[in-house]
C-alpha cells in the first residue's frame, strides 16, 4: 500500500505549487459536477455532446480543449519566464523548471495547436464544401475522444506519478530508464501515441471528405483555399505521424520492456530517435502552419472585399511546401556530425522553402492591393501575421545557413525564431480563424472592442518577449537553462522578455473575459453572413442546423457564395426541393473507446499490466461491436426540415 502511494505521489507531486493545483482541480471539478446536477444537465451532456457525431459539435469540443491547453501551456510559459526574470532566481528549482518546459512545449504543440486546427477543420470544412458531415462521422468522434482522453492522461502527470522532464523532443538517451526513472516519460510516450491514433484518423477522414464530398460543380480548383490547406495538411498528417509513432513506441519498448533500440549500453542508436522524431517534426511544423495559411487566405479576401490574388500559385506553393517539408529534417541537427555534404544538401533544401512561402506572402499583400481593407479583429490578426511571419521566416533562412546555424543552434536565437513562426504564424492564424468563424459556431459575434484590446496586448507582448531573445542568443544564452549568473549581460533582456510574457498573459485573460462577456451580452448574427463572406458556410444560418444544407448547393465559381450574392440569389431554398435527409446517428462507442484507451494507458504508465490488458480488451470489444452495428443512421423527414427552415426564415415565397 505504501509502495503504491509512493508510486502515485512521489515528492515531485507534493510540492506546494502542485498541491495548490490539486486543490483547484478538485474544487473546479466539484463545481462543474454540482452545476450539472443542479441544472439537471447530465442527460443533455450525454445526448448532445458526449455521444454526438456532428462535426460542428466535435469542433466546439476540440476548441474547448484547445483553450484549456492554451491556459495550461501559457501558465507554464509564465512560470518559466518568471524564473528567468532575474539572475540566480530561486522561484523554481532545476527539476521543477525541467518539468515545466517539457509540459509547456508538449502541450502547446499536441494539446493546444493540434486540437485548435482540428476544431477549425471540423467547424469549417464540411460547410465550405457543401457537405452534411465528414466522410466518417463516427471515426471523427473516435479521433476526438482519443485526443480528449490522451489530453487528460498527459495533463494529470504532474499531480499523479510525476511530470515528464526530458523536453518536448524527449531525445534518447536522456529518456533512458537509468537517467529518467519514474513514470513521467511514460505519460509522454503513451498519451502521444493514443492521441496520435486519433490524429492519423483525422487526416484520413478529412482527405476523404474533401476528395469525395464536395458540392456539385466544386472542382478542386474551385475549392476555398482553406479547404486546399486542409487537404494538403491531411496528407502530411498521414505520412508524417507514423514516424513519430514509431519513435515513441520504440522508446516505450526500451523503457517498459527492456529492449535496446536507443539504449546506449546495449548498442542502441540515440541518433536514430532524433532522425525519426524530426522526420515527423518538420512536416509537423507545416501541419500547423498550412491551415493557418488557409485561414489567412480566406480572411484576407473577405476583409479586403476582393478575390484572392494568384489562386493557382497559392495552391502550387501549398503543394511545394508540403513536398519540401519532407526533405529538410536534418536542419534540426546540423551539429550532429552528419558531414558537410549532408549538411549542405539540407541547408539548401531548407532555403528552398522560402520561395513558395515568399510567393504566398506577396499574394496576400496583392490580395489587399486594390481592395477595401476592413480592420476587424480577424483581419488585425492577419495584418499582424504578415510582418511577424516575414521576420520569423527571415531568421529561419539565417538558421538554414549551415555555418551560421553552428552558432545559433539551441541558443535563444533559435527559441526566438520558432516562437516567432509558431506564434506569429500559427497562433495568430488560429485567433484570426476563431474570430472569423465564431459567429458561425455560436450564432453571435465576439466583442470587437475587447478583441482589439486582447490583440494589442498579445501582439506587443509577443514582440517584447521574443525580440530580446534573439539578442540573448547572440549573447550566448542557450535554451532550457533554469538559472544564469550575473555579469553575462543577460539580465536586462531577460527581464524585458518576462514582462512581455506577462503582457501576452493579460491578452489571453482579456480574450477569455471577452468570450464570457460576449456570451452574456449576445449580439446575435441573424443573417448568417456577418462579414459579407465569400464561401458557402456564410450562406447558412448561424449556427447551421444539424443537417447543414437543406438542399445541397451547386457551385459554378470560386468564392461560390459571393458569386451567388452578385447574381442576386439568397441562401433560401424552395420547399418542394426539400427531401428527407439521412444523418449519422449518435453513438457512445467513441467515448467508451477513448475511456478504454485511457484505462490501458494508465495501466501501461504504471506498468500495472492486468489493467493495461483489461483496457485493451475493452478496446477490442468495442471495435468488434462496431461490426454488428446496423442502425448507424437516422432519417430526418422532409416535413421536419421544412419546419426548421421555415422557422429560420429560409423558405422562399
Amino acid at each position: 500500500m505504501s509502495h503504491l502511494l509512493a508510486q502515485l505521489f512521489p515528492p515531485s507531486v507534493l510540492r506546494p505549487m502542485e498541491l495548490g493545483a490539486d486543490a483547484s482541480i478538485l474544487l473546479g471539478g466539484l463545481g462543474i459536477v454540482l452545476l450539472l446536477t443542479r441544472l439537471r444537465r447530465w442527460g443533455w451532456l450525454w445526448r448532445e455532446w458526449i455521444t454526438t457525431v456532428d462535426h460542428k459539435k466535435i469542433g466546439i469540443m476540440y476548441l474547448i480543449f484547445a483553450m484549456v491547453g492554451l491556459f495550461r501551456g501559457g501558465l507554464d510559459a509564465v512560470m518559466l519566464r518568471t524564473q528567468l526574470a532575474i539572475p540566480n532566481n530561486t522561484f523554481l528549482g532545476p527539476e521543477h523548471y525541467n518539468e515545466i518546459f517539457t509540459t509547456h512545449g508538449t502541450i502547446m504543440v499536441f494539446f493546444m495547436a493540434m486540437p485548435f486546427i482540428f476544431a477549425l477543420f471540423n467547424i469549417a470544412v464540411p460547410l465550405m464544401i457543401g457537405a452534411r458531415d465528414v466522410a466518417f462521422p463516427k471515426l471523427n468522434a473516435i479521433s476526438f475522444w482519443l485526443f480528449a482522453f490522451a489530453f487528460v492522461l498527459f495533463n494529470m502527470s504532474f499531480v499523479v506519478g510525476g511530470s515528464p522532464n526530458a523536453g518536448w523532443t524527449a531525445y534518447a538517451p536522456l529518456t533512458e530508464l537509468r537517467f529518467n526513472p519514474g513514470v513521467g516519460e511514460n505519460y509522454y510516450l503513451i498519451a502521444l501515441q493514443i492521441s496520435g491514433i486519433g490524429t492519423i484518423a483525422t487526416g484520413v477522414n478529412f482527405l476523404v471528405t474533401i476528395l469525395r464530398m464536395r458540392a456539385k460543380g466544386m472542382t478542386l480548383m474551385k475549392m476555398p483555399l482553406f479547404v486546399w490547406s486542409v487537404l494538403i495538411t491531411s496528407s502530411l498528417v498521414i505520412f508524417a505521424f507514423p514516424a513519430l509513432t514509431v519513435a515513441l513506441a520504440l522508446t516505450m519498448l526500451d523503457r517498459l520492456f527492456g529492449t535496446s533500440f536507443f539504449t546506449i549500453a546495449h548498442g542502441g542508436m540515440p541518433m536514430m530517435y532524433v532522425n525519426l522524431f524530426w522526420i515527423w517534426g518538420h512536416p509537423e511544423v507545416y501541419i500547423l502552419a498550412l491551415p493557418a495559411f488557409g485561414i489567412f487566405s480566406e480572411v484576407v479576401a473577405t476583409f479586403s472585399r476582393k478575390r484572392l490574388f494568384g489562386y493557382p500559385a497559392m495552391v502550387g506553393s501549398l503543394i511545394a511546401i508540403s513536398l519540401l517539408s519532407y526533405g529538410v529534417w536534418v536542419h534540426h541537427f546540423f551539429t550532429m556530425g552528419a558531414g558537410a555534404a549532408v549538411n549542405a544538401f539540407f541547408g539548401v533544401s531548407t532555403m528552398l522553402i522560402a520561395i513558395p512561402t515568399g510567393v504566398k506572402i506577396f499574394n496576400w499583400i496583392f490580395t489587399m492591393w486594390g481592395g477595401r481593407i476592413r480592420m476587424t479583429v480577424a483581419m488585425l490578426w492577419q495584418l499582424a501575421f504578415i510582418p511577424t511571419f516575414v521576420i520569423g521566416g527571415a531568421t529561419g533562412v539565417m538558421l538554414a545557413v549551415v555555418p551560421g546555424d553552428y552558432q545559433f543552434h539551441n541558443s535563444y536565437f533559435l527559441v526566438a525564431h520558432f516562437h516567432n513562426v509558431l506564434i506569429g504564424g500559427v497562433v495568430f492564424g488560429l485567433f484570426s480563424g476563431l474570430y472569423y468563424w465564431w459567429p458561425k459556431m455560436f450564432g453571435y459575434l465576439l466583442s470587437e472592442r475587447q478583441g482589439k484590446w486582447a490583440f494589442w496586448f498579445f501582439l506587443i507582448g509577443f514582440w517584447v518577449t521574443f525580440f530580446p531573445q534573439y539578442l540573448l542568443g547572440l549573447k550566448g544564452m542557450t535554451r532550457r537553462i533554469y538559472i544564469y549568473p550575473h555579469g553575462l549581460g543577460w539580465s536586462p533582456l531577460n527581464l524585458i522578455s518576462t514582462l512581455g510574457a506577462y503582457a501576452m498573459g493579460i491578452g489571453f485573460v482579456i480574450l477569455v473575459y471577452s468570450v464570457v462577456y460576449s456570451w452574456r451580452h449576445r449580439e446575435p448574427d441573424l443573417t448568417g453572413d456577418p462579414w459579407d463572406g465569400r464561401t458557402l458556410e456564410w450562406s447558412l444560418p448561424s449556427p447551421a442546423p444539424e443537417y447543414n444544407f437543406a438542399v445541397l448547393p451547386e457551385v459554378t465559381e470560386r468564392d461560390a457564395w459571393w458569386e451567388m450574392k452578385q447574381e442576386g440569389r439568397s441562401g433560401k431554398v424552395r420547399a418542394e426541393d426539400i427531401g428527407a435527409i439521412r444523418m449519422p446517428r449518435n453513438t457512445p462507442v467513441p467515448f467508451l473507446l477513448g475511456m478504454s484507451f485511457f484505462v490501458a494507458g494508465i495501466g501501461a504508465v504504471f506498468s500495472w499490466w492486468p489493467i493495461a490488458i483489461a483496457g485493451m480488451l475493452f478496446v477490442i470489444a468495442l471495435l468488434v461491436s462496431g461490426w454488428f452495428e446496423e442502425h448507424d443512421h437516422h432519417d430526418i423527414p422532409a416535413e421536419e426540415i421544412r419546419r426548421t427552415e421555415a422557422a429560420l426564415g429560409r423558405l422562399e415565397g
Binding site: 486594390g370 481593407i373 495584418l383 516575414v390 553552428y406 542557450t478 537553462i481
Partner: protein, 291 residues
C-alpha cells in the same frame, strides 16, 4: 482625420518607448557571437552578416510594400484609391515575385555550401593540437592525448594553433560550444565527432553546453584560456609537475552525477577515451561499467 492620426500615435508611442528601451538594454560588450576571437568564428560571423543583410533587404522591402498597401487601401469614407474587386492575377508580377526569392536563395546558397565544406576541413599548414572532450553529468573532462595531461571544466590552448576537438559523451548528449571561437557540435555517447576551432587572440572565453542533459545542465560551463605558445608550454609544465595523476578512482568519481570545480591532472588512465569512431571501447563509464 485628426482623430484617426491621434489613434495611430497612441499605439506608436509605447512601441517607440519599448524599442528604445530594448536598444539601450541590448548595448554592451556581451555579444559573443558577434565578437569572434578566431578564424572559424570569424568566417561564421561573416556568413551570418551576409545572410542578415540579404534578409534585412527582404524584410524592409516587404514591410514597405505592406505598409503602403495597408495605408492606401484601408477602408475609409471618401477613399480615392482604386477598388479592383476582380483583379486576381498578373503574369508579370507573379513571375517577378517568384524570381526575387529564387535569386536571394541562390545568393545565399552558394556561400553556404562553400563555407560548409571549408569549415569541415582542418587548415592545412600546421599540425593541430588534439583535445579529447568527454561530457559527463554535469562537467567537462578534457584530455590532451599528445601531451598526456587532463583537465576538468577548463582548457588552455595556444593562440594561432588549430585545435582538433574530438567530442564524445559518457552521459546523455550535450553540445560543446565556445561562441567566440566558433560554432558548436554535439557530444554523443557511442560516437566521436570532430570539431576544428582556433583562437586568434589571447583571452578567456566562456564555453557551455547547448543541449539539455538533465538536472545539472545549466552548470555545464567551462572556460578556454587562449595563451601565447610560450605560456602554453609553461602551463603544460606546471600541470605535469604540480598536479596529481588521475587514477581510475578519480575517473569514477568524475563520472558520478554531480558538478565539479576546475581541476588539472598530470596524466590520466588509458582507455578512458574511445580510440575509434566504431568499436567503442570505453572503460569505466556510465555505459560500460569499469572492470
Amino acid at each position: 482625420m485628426r482623430r484617426h492620426r491621434s489613434r495611430w500615435f497612441r499605439f506608436l508611442l509605447p512601441l517607440t518607448v519599448v524599442a528604445a528601451g530594448l536598444l539601450t538594454a541590448g548595448c554592451g560588450q556581451h555579444y559573443v557571437v558577434l565578437d569572434p576571437a578566431g578564424p572559424v568564428a570569424r568566417s561564421e560571423l561573416h556568413l551570418i552578416e551576409t545572410a542578415s543583410v540579404a534578409m534585412g533587404i527582404v524584410i524592409l522591402f516587404v514591410l514597405v510594400l505592406f505598409a503602403v498597401t495597408l495605408y492606401r487601401f484601408r477602408e475609409k469614407p471618401g477613399s480615392r484609391a482604386p477598388y479592383l474587386p476582380l483583379w486576381h492575377s498578373s503574369r508579370l508580377l507573379e513571375f517577378v515575385l517568384f524570381a526575387v526569392p529564387v535569386l536571394i536563395v541562390i545568393i545565399l546558397a552558394v556561400p553556404t555550401v562553400q563555407q560548409t565544406f571549408a569549415l569541415d576541413r582542418l587548415p592545412p599548414a600546421k599540425h593541430p593540437l588534439v583535445i579529447d572532450v568527454t561530457s559527463l553529468d554535469y562537467k567537462w573532462l578534457f584530455q590532451y592525448p599528445q601531451q598526456g595531461v587532463a583537465t576538468v571544466n577548463y582548457i588552455d590552448v595556444p593562440v594561432g594553433v588549430p585545435v582538433l576537438f574530438e567530442l564524445t559523451a559518457n552521459s546523455p548528449m550535450n553540445t560543446f560550444w565556445v561562441p567566440q571561437l566558433g560554432g558548436m557540435e554535439y557530444t554523443m555517447p557511442g560516437r566521436v565527432l570532430p570539431l576544428y576551432l582556433q583562437a586568434g587572440k589571447a583571452g578567456v572565453y566562456r564555453g557551455n553546453s547547448a543541449n539539455f542533459s538533465g538536472r545539472g545542465f545549466a552548470h555545464m560551463v567551462f572556460h578556454v584560456h587562449a595563451v601565447p605558445e610560450a605560456s602554453f608550454v609553461h602551463w603544460l609544465q606546471t600541470v605535469r609537475q604540480g598536479s596529481p595523476a588521475m587514477t581510475m578512482q578519480d575517473y569514477r568519481h568524475l563520472i558520478a552525477v554531480g558538478t565539479a570545480p576546475e581541476q588539472s591532472f598530470s596524466s590520466y588512465p588509458a582507455d578512458t577515451f574511445p580510440t575509434a569512431t566504431h568499436g567503442f571501447t570505453l572503460q569505466g563509464g556510465m555505459y560500460m561499467e569499469p572492470n
